[in-house]
Amino acid sequence: MTAGTTVIAPPKRPSAVKWLRRNLFSSLGNTLLTVVSVVVIVFVLRSLLRFVFVQADWSPVVQNLRLYAVGTYPIEEMWRVWAIVYMVSFLMGVSAGKARGTTLTFAGAMGIAYIALALLPISLQYLSITSRLALAANTVLIWLGYVFGARVPFKGRWLAVAWGLSFILTLVLLGGLRNAALLPAVESGKWGGLLLTFLLALVGIVASFPIGVLLALGRQSKLPVVKAMCIVFIEMVRGVPLVTILFMTSILLPLLLPDTIRIDRVLRAMLGMTLFAAAYMAENVRGGLQSISRGQYDAAKAMGLNNLQTTVLIILPQALRVVIPAIVGQFIALFMDTTLAIIVGLLELLAVGSAIINSNPKWLLLDTEVYAFIALVFWIFTYSMAYASRQVERAVGLGTR
């Protein structure tokens, strides 16, 4: 530090008393509000703790963890689910090693979560030693992946390719192959629980992406007929509730297709989710397209690029970068919307809960416990995803450009 510069001390953190006075007791009204709030908080916390640790009977939850996780997926094929989970954990670790920042925090949280799950204080009867070890193995894999990603230099593009491949591999592993001895087909009716919830949302968002981009481009296009058709599709889908679309694909689709084509129930629901997501995706992408300045188009034209080249090489890469946060938000919304699949008879997480309650007369009145557990599971996933995406957004400065 050179002489002559005066160093201004950073503002001191206010003392506890000052903080309290400023934030809780600044006036009579405020003091009153504080007192009322404290009473409310104490009351809610007390009833909540009493419910969780004393009153509640968690047996329909702890005795059926596997059902919540994978539904009725056959036990002898469970290794496939584990393989997928391992794959995701490893890739998560590699991404964390490569990207650091929020991804690292997220991966770390995942590692801790797996350890916590492995150490769940419930009877070994309901969560066996092997399952606990398998859960803990994920933490090791995340760590291994992290070391790999941090030490081994490779292009970030390969990571994206690996994630893409892992998605396809997931579908192949879960569904199996027809006439394969090692990987016999598991019909989709047996997929369930959190597995199906994730799958519906993932397939929905992945499949809706290209359709959404095309629709958005179509809506922006100068060709009146194409534009009109895209607008009609987008506004029609966005104008009706998701339930009606799911119902349409589950009841009407068999009527709309010739008798020779039979699509099973899960695929029909996936189709419904995809159509629904595509319309919203189109609107998100349109937002990105509109954020590109005219100058980009003019510059591309001046470079001698034709319309197709301009779109693919100049406009889309920039537009899609801007809409990543919106797509993450849409994925979270879609993840929550998968619960509607219960209405067309799929066995996703919520449906598993409702089936468990009705499966045992002892559990008939334990709706609170089961649905509270399901709400907690959803909350953990959606809140952590939303939190991570907000952090990434802030770090990258996306959306503020």
Binding site: L33, T244, I251, I342, D367, T368, A375, Y383
Partner: protein, 397 residues
């Protein structure tokens, strides 16, 4: 370049047709239109053949047939001998009922939560933040299940019902509370009420414009309020007997008598929708209020406006411009989400539609009807929103 000239009709203004932008664009459009229309034709022909094979009609004639199924609750008189069309109308009115009450309550809840989130009190701020962050991250359907199966279904039987201040009675039969029942003279009185509302708005507008033009204080708000309250009060005494009567629920031998009853299904759906949408509305309102820059408020104070005038004439108009579009789309979301009623057995339009599909097998026309109605609701809303947006944008420039 033009060494080999092709026949003249292949050129337009000297450009060969396969290079002519207009021709290429039209070709692309025609091809895509043919593809889409062909696909739709393929679907329709399949439906027709499937309908023929199963002996189902595709017309809307079935709407006049007798419905034959009961409907648990209805705004208008209904019995199973009425037609399918009438049953659908009953369902539509139920959807509208839950939407209107839900929008009203969710707005109040959202406003309270938004103000709480902006409070200077740290505890109040945190409670509201926890509410918003918990509710927005749990699927609505899970919340509806909790409200219905874990709360309303597990309430005590009628003779042991919980009594909340009000009095509000909660039991397995639903929620009973003090209500207002229209009496014979209600239909006359409602005219006074409507006239009061319309005249109050007109008077406010005229006086407010005059105040802006002349600069003299004309008290538009107070005059409007006086008309709004005065006319219905006048009408109350002019019509024969009181138009509204207070009814208090009283426990009879088997059930409550009198009072306003909400069925468990309606109450659960309403509670779920209000709590869920309220959290989103809170964020919308908070964002809108935060979007008004501090300079605007300071500038208006330095112009000599009082703090209420600042709020009414500067902060609110600026904030509302940001708030209203997403607020309306939340209202629309609430209306569309009310279709989840089917999962907990509230008889809304979609529920009736599904019952008709099960009974009469008329899947295609029923779907066209229901989706058409939802679509109309959203298109009308977005049309009005566009008009509003255009208006506030013009104000800006």
């Amino acid at each position: 370049m033009n060494s080999t000239r092709l026949p003249g009709f292949l050129y337009r203004k000297g450009v060969p047709v396969w290079r002519d932008v207009v021709v290429l664009q039209w070709t692309a459009q025609i091809i895509s239109a043919i593809l889409v229309i062909g696909f739709i034709y393929f679907l329709i022909s399949n439906v027709l053949s499937a309908a023929e094979a199963r002996g189902l009609g595709l017309g809307f004639g079935f709407l006049n047939l007798e419905a034959g199924f009961p409907v648990a609750e209805s705004v208008i008189p209904y019995d199973p001998t009425r037609s399918f069309g009438y049953a659908l109308w009953v369902g539509f009115l139920n959807t509208i009922k839950v939407a209107i009450v839900g929008i009203f309550l969710a707005t109040i809840l959202g406003l309270i939560a938004a103000l709480a989130r902006l409070s200077t009190n740290w505890l109040v701020r945190s409670i509201a933040g926890v509410y918003v962050n918990i509710i927005r991250n749990i699927p609505l359907l899970v919340q509806l299940f909790i409200w219905y199966f874990a709360f309303f279904q597990q309430l005590p039987p009628v003779d042991q019902s919980l009594t909340l201040p009000g009095p509000v009675y909660l039991s397995q039969r639903g929620l009973y509370m003090i209500g207002l029942a229209p009496a014979g003279s209600f239909s006359q009185w409602i005219l006074f009420l409507l006239a009061g509302i319309i005249l109050a708005i007109i008077a406010y507008q005229i006086l407010f414009r005059y105040q802006l033009r002349s600069g003299r204080s004309t008290y538009p708000l107070i005059t409007g309020l006086v008309i709004f309250i005065g006319l219905p009060t006048l009408g109350w005494f002019l019509v024969q007997g009181a138009p509204l009567q207070v009814t208090v629920p009283e426990l009879g031998r088997f059930n409550f008598e009198g009072g306003l009853r909400l069925t468990p299904e309606f109450a659960a759906l309403l509670a779920g929708l209000v709590v869920y949408t309220g959290a989103f509305i809170a964020e919308v309102i908070r964002g809108g209020i935060l979007s008004v820059s501090k300079g605007q408020v300071e500038a208006s104070r330095s112009l000599g406006l009082s703090s209420t005038q600042t709020l009414r004439l500067v902060t609110l108009p600026l904030a509302l411009r940001v708030i209203i579009p997403p607020l309306i789309s939340q209202y629309l979301n609430l209306t569309k989400n009310s279709s989840l009623a089917i999962a907990i057995g509230f008889v809304d339009m979609f529920f009736v539609g599904r019952t008709i599909i099960n009974q009469a097998g008329q899947a295609v026309p029923v779907f066209i009807l229901i989706m058409g109605i939802y679509l109309c609701l959203s298109l009308v809303t977005s049309f009005l929103l566009n008009i509003y947006n255009r208006r506030v944008q013009l104000v800006e420039r």
